[in-house]
Symmetry: C2
Subunit: 220 residues, 2 copies
């Protein structure tokens, strides 16, 4: 169990944990029992000090001269993230993005299992999407309470995002994974994580623009 120091782990460290996890799982599949931070760093393009700091966040301790025990490290990361016992999740907004996320098996690895969808559009209700039922949004409250679902994936249009978030909060949802560009207002007991695909695309676009500019000036 990661010791609770009362301090928050640095966000950048938390963001890197899944990459470590993935590498470690492949090492384990190769039968490796032990690994050093230097090795991990080389694979992932990080300096070994950073790897050590990041891993320490999960409460793991390594052995000097030996390194880290691979299975123990995997367990430590998974427990820290809560990915050892997967959470059920509801998805609100069964548009094209929502439908895709409902069908995406990859989240299972990340401890998330989308079990049902919700939408306001009568045409979508009752339909099965990738084997999961779609319910009317009004039923969110009852269903979430009944099934003890704490996580919601929000994929409605931006204009409907705040209202949908309110419904989710009212239904007892404690964590909202927000794929909309809206800035959500929720009570402090509810955690929101914004995916912000547009932020990622902005980085790509500006770098491409810069790369093309540089090329042009260099060729002059």
């Amino acid at each position: 169990m990661p010791e609770d120091t009362g301090k928050f782990a640095p966000l950048p460290s938390i963001r890197r944990l899944p990459a470590y996890l993935r590498l470690l799982q492949s090492l384990r599949a190769d039968g490796r029992d032990v690994v050093s931070c230097t090795h991990i760093g080389k694979e992932l393009g990080l300096v070994c000090t950073q790897v050590r700091k990041d891993l320490a966040v999960t409460g793991i301790v390594g052995k000097p001269k030996v390194g880290y025990n691979v299975p123990a490290l995997i367990a430590s990361i998974e427990e820290f993230l809560g990915w050892n016992n997967p959470q059920d999740a509801f998805l609100v907004g069964v548009g094209s993005l929502g439908r895709a996320l409902m069908g995406y098996q990859g989240f299972q690895e990340y401890g998330l299992r989308i079990v049902a969808g919700f939408d306001v559009d009568p045409a979508k209700i009752g339909v099965e999407v990738h084997g999961k039922k779609v319910f009317p949004l009004e039923e969110l409250g009852n269903t979430a309470a009944e099934m003890r679902v704490l996580v919601g994936v929000l994929t409605v249009p931006a204009a409907a995002a705040q209202d949908a978030a309110r419904s989710m909060v009212q239904a007892g949802i404690r964590a909202i994974w927000n794929y909309t560009p809206a800035t959500l207002e929720v009570p402090p007991s509810v955690v929101v994580e914004d995916v912000k695909l547009s932020a990622s695309l902005a980085v790509l676009s500006s770098r491409l623009a810069e790369s093309l500019r540089r090329e042009k000036t260099e060729s002059v």
Copy 2:
């Protein structure tokens, strides 16, 4: 035109630009002509100094006592990101995530238009997905050259990611928007931006776990 100072803009600033853009577009729709950094900051939960620094990245200058001209600011951000003239993009890997992204209209706002899909699976080839054709991966090279497509969206399974990236680079793709968890190796002339949904989910999970822990200890 943003003046080229030779310095790179801070990544965090670039990542915030889409949020400014969105707010500004809604202000323009409301007929507002001018806006202060204080106002922008309040809407987005940022201090006004940061807003000023971020906007300065795009080359915009405001007027003391007045604020920033809304349409000029929109134009400045869009030009900086290259979103004023949309890029055509190819998508490689027409799985459930890929299919969704092909159907997602929202990227048009962000200057990206996915025009075709590519896959190795014969069953997927020739099919239309949201009105866009799917071609065999071998044709990527010719087609990209012919259509002068510079941007690629990568949504293949992780194990196939590096190979697919190689094909994209060979096809002349200059920017890869990588939805896979793989760490891609590409030549320096090619820009890669990783979406890392798992990093985002890790933040959500760890915060939820923490929130639930805190609740439990508090109730004791």
